[in-house]
Symmetry: C2
Subunit: 181 residues, 2 copies
Amino acid sequence: MELTPITERFILHWGEMGARWGVNRSVAQIHALLYLVGRPLPADEIAETLSVARSNVSMSLKELLSWRLVKISHSMGDRRDHFETSGDVWELFKLIVEGRKQREIEPTLAVLGDILASPDFARETPAAQQRIRETREFIHTLTAWADEMLRQAPETLMKILKMGARVHNFVRGAKEDKEEK
Amino acid sequence: MELTPITERFILHWGEMGARWGVNRSVAQIHALLYLVGRPLPADEIAETLSVARSNVSMSLKELLSWRLVKISHSMGDRRDHFETSGDVWELFKLIVEGRKQREIEPTLAVLGDILASPDFARETPAAQQRIRETREFIHTLTAWADEMLRQAPETLMKILKMGARVHNFVRGAKEDKEEK
DNA sequence: CTGAAGTTTCAGTCAAGAGTGAAATTTCAG
DNA sequence: CTGAAATTTCACTCTTGACTGAAACTTCAG
């Protein structure tokens, strides 16, 4: 398949961004391609379109499958697996956040919990103890909140985001809400 | 300076996490060290404590300074620069998010804006056009919201996070709020 | 001014991990 | 069953970027 300059630019930029955030460049590019194309593609075609080795595509798709960002589908009269991704950005965002949470945040909380439970912990300076506790608390609060947010439907989330300012007012008592222009 | 096993574990884990999120491992370790120690340290001592080259510390501190995550301070009778970081996790989080936003999100929005403004854009399939537009909109909404949140004081943010569930109710009309247990 | 203390720069080395392609494995039509 | 098509695995190569240490530069006390 031939890419338009626009599609190509999108995919290349996505690859770069992925790389900066710790996602393999090929993985990010493949995902961007599937996202833009919007229909299931066989691995061959992905390899050819992006000019990467067939085996690289295979590994990358495996990773995307494990993140649940792509699904396998089949078409009649074609033995090959085809791969597609959701066209809903919110859906994708949720899956990505959920994945990173499980793979990185939870191990971090485990390490911090371990440290706090260690008999040596009491021998740290009071200031260091305090910081470690606060760090754990912070990560914990943040992820609990993220869980809560991601449980909402996309439309609800959208509303929440778009009313950022009002949330602030709400927290402060909500009664000045009606005074807004 | 000699590290306790606990401090060491914290610093090493922090380094790993940083690496996964696209932050240089040394940079993350140095930051973790300053965070736990809680007082200004000269570059020498950082190098010695973490067993990395003095020059590496110099470069890493430069990066941390550019992110505004560490500050230089001086002490009487010592010509050397000393470096310290905020002990407030929230403060640190804000600085990190702000930094990444400027360095990565804004360029991405620029690329997407460019694409949307390009004369070639109209030649993409309607579905692809739609996806690109939605992607830009999504990133835009999310960062506008993040800006709003980060402008709040830490205590306000804390409250917002801790009442995740109620925010949901608020969005849906807020009237069932009083029915909570 | 001068040299000692402190700091940064930079060319070179090294390690981690991304990407390749041949070989092994799996799947299924006939 | 069998072999052709599809896919995956894996040992290897290559690239990127982290890290080092020597040299250059800056600052300041005396």
